[in-house]
Symmetry: C2
Subunit: 94 residues, 2 copies
């Protein structure tokens, strides 16, 4: 089935403790996921699931996820709309 952000939002309640309910994490060693690219998120969750990327915690959390669930969670965080304000000290308009 196509990725389902709504189902992903529900699944992501398990991720919110670290990554924040909207993907803006509160701990500077934990990445923000808000508005992150869908394909990248699928790749990283899959890499954590199969150990290609090393993080004991993330591997434990990703291991039980199905491909569909990985797609849904990734679609949710990718769907969180983020905007970039003018970067500090930048002359150009983004």
């Amino acid at each position: 089935a196509p990725p389902n952000p709504r189902a992903g939002q529900h699944l992501a309640t398990n991720c919110a403790a670290c990554h924040g309910s909207d993907g803006m994490s509160v701990d500077t060693s934990i990445p923000n996921l808000a508005g992150q690219h869908y394909v990248y998120l699928v790749q990283q969750l899959t890499a954590f699931k199969n150990g290609g990327r090393v993080s004991p915690l993330m591997t434990e959390l990703a291991r039980p996820l199905t491909e569909q669930q990985i797609a849904d969670i990734s679609a949710y965080y990718a769907s969180v709309p983020i905007q970039v304000a003018k970067p500090p000290g930048s002359k150009h308009q983004p």
Copy 2:
């Protein structure tokens, strides 16, 4: 020396081709770095540099970077102000 976002912005011109000049990448398999957490970025660049995280391209790019340069680049992307609009379908206000 403390992390220097301005020096990092200059160094990040080497990253812009993939990650975008303000950290919003144009390829969905390449992560956005805009507003990403400083500590996380330092950890990931360092992991790429020492091979703890696997990416031939990123390891090649990170290998020549000094700790100061890693800190400066990370400080730059972390300094890009991003805002989350109301996530789609979410009942709560972020």
